[in-house]
């Protein structure tokens, strides 16, 4: 019973780490997409008083929760050893995406990326 509870706790934590990375990645994709594509910018701009920024926040958070739900379903079937491996991988992705987002939201860095897709 204690073992099962520990596994459930780990699944929740690891899925959050993966989902956090997905949320950050989706957020960055939306930043670039809203600069590249006018139709995407319009979808994100559902509340014109605030502009597309609100759309980026809402969709990235939605991506986080969807990813978390999907990862819980996938990781829930794994054994303890596989979960241990996923813990390391998920932590690495989370740390990397958390650091990268600082640079990727800086206009001199994401500007050239936008130019590639324009």
């Amino acid at each position: 019973m204690v073992k099962k509870e520990s596994t459930t706790q780990d699944v929740k934590s690891i899925s959050s780490l993966y989902a956090g990375s997905v949320g950050i990645a989706v957020y960055f994709v939306l930043i670039v997409a809203s600069e590249v594509s006018e139709p995407i910018k319009k979808v994100l701009d559902f509340y014109p008083a605030v502009g597309p920024l609100l759309g980026k926040f809402v969709f990235a958070l939605a991506a986080f929760f969807v990813a978390k739900y999907l990862f819980i379903g996938t990781l829930g079937n794994l054994d303890k050893k596989s979960l241990g491996k996923h813990e390391k991988t998920a932590a690495m992705w989370f740390v990397a995406s958390s650091i990268l987002i600082f640079l990727l939201t800086f206009p001199p860095v994401f500007g050239p990326i936008v130019e590639i897709f324009k």
Partner: protein
């Protein structure tokens, strides 16, 4: 007597602040409050094995910190409306009107508004880990390190966002 004169001047002037000035002050206040909570969270993190109630306090502070950052972002969105208003007096119009100041919007403010999302999602992950792991967090060294990384990174990002906000608002304050 001097105190009364000074206090009545304060009361009189503070009541003349505009609605948006008060809202942006609340936004700044939430930002300052988050710094206190970050300090508490880091102190309690290093006290987790030191006293019995440390984890419960740490969990409460982490949840409060996430709530605070959520409210901070919500207020940020709220006061973003007058900032980007298409009038001659909105801060964005003022900044973009001059070549000298347009970089404050196109580089500094753009980075500030986008980076503000990072502490929200990082602290959401940290809060979920702390709440779901409970007291067993102490026996999970990797997750424990990720929690510290999340708190410190969020603190750094909040400080950067605040510094960028000061840089922008000292040139074009929200009124």
């Amino acid at each position: 007597m001097l105190f009364l004169a000074s206090f009545s001047e304060f009361a009189e002037k503070i009541l003349t602040l505009s609605y948006w000035e008060i809202m942006s002050d609340i936004h700044g206040g939430l930002s300052m409050f988050s710094l206190i909570l970050f300090g508490c969270a880091i102190t309690l993190y290093f006290s987790l094995d030191k006293f019995a109630k440390a984890f419960n306090w740490f969990k409460t502070v982490v949840v409060l910190l996430f709530t605070n950052i959520f409210l901070l972002n919500f207020m940020g969105m709220f006061i973003y409306r007058p900032y980007r208003e298409k009038t001659d007096f909105s801060p964005r119009t003022i900044l973009k009107a001059s070549e000298e100041t347009s970089w404050l919007h196109t580089i500094i403010f753009e980075h500030k508004e986008h980076l503000a999302f990072a502490p929200l999602i990082i602290m959401l992950v940290v809060a979920i880990i702390v709440v779901s792991q409970g007291k067993s967090l102490s026996s999970k060294p990797l997750l424990k390190r990720v929690v510290l990384f999340g708190i410190v990174t969020s603190l750094v990002y909040v400080l950067v966002v605040a510094a960028e906000a000061v840089l922008v608002t000292k040139t074009a304050p929200l009124r």
